[in-house]
Symmetry: C2
Subunit: 125 residues, 2 copies
């Protein structure tokens, strides 16, 4: 099992690679059979092919993730972080406030990502 | 299913009642068969009797919860919030940084609470 610090380092790498538009770098953090549920409550997408398709859309050079507080660990293979996601379009910015919870494989790869945000957590600025 | 706003209101009520040392008020937010996993990765405690025992210990007049960011919703019956928990003892304060994820029953009661924090999320001030 990865240590608490290894989990936090991987979660920070997820943010950093996202903000560098490093699609391959993001995908390399995920296990082959990983799931992504974004937002929580929607059907999860399952497996590397579907996750590749998902991040190919959202890693678009216009979207940035800002972490709001320290990443939290756990006593097992999971961590959580509060973020906001800004997507810049001409003349406006869509901001989504989210909390992401990730679990990890023994090898330290993301086995699941679940992003908590609802319609009330979006705002246009 | 409770609305996004009802979930956020219940989570804020959890904080407020905790900070008023209102043990009965906290317990009334939980469903009979609810589970509490605090910290995440430990064996969950299950059912109202065990949850009553847990909160009887932590609602002690010396512990306060501070919310750090807006409570996040979802597209289903869950919400998440970043908090820190301060426990005051003579001459020092223990601070725990945590993210709590809650799910709710159709009646709007808490069916599960999971608090993400690890040894690295504690500090003495």
């Amino acid at each position: 099992m990865p240590t608490e610090q290894e989990i936090k380092t991987a979660m920070q790498a997820y943010i950093d690679r996202f903000n560098e538009d490093d699609l391959e770098g993001i995908l390399s953090l995920f296990a082959e059979e990983a799931t992504v549920e974004d937002p929580a409550g929607m059907a999860p997408i399952i497996g590397k092919a579907a996750i590749t398709e998902f991040y190919t859309k959202v890693v678009n050079g216009k979207t940035r993730i800002h972490r709001e507080e320290p990443i939290r660990g756990s006593r097992s293979n999971s961590g959580a972080m509060a973020i906001h996601i800004e997507t810049h379009a001409e003349g406006s910015t869509l901001m989504i406030h989210a909390i992401e919870v990730m679990t990890f494989t023994d090898a330290g790869l993301i086995s699941s990502m679940k992003a908590y945000w609802g319609p009330g957590d979006m705002e246009n600025k």
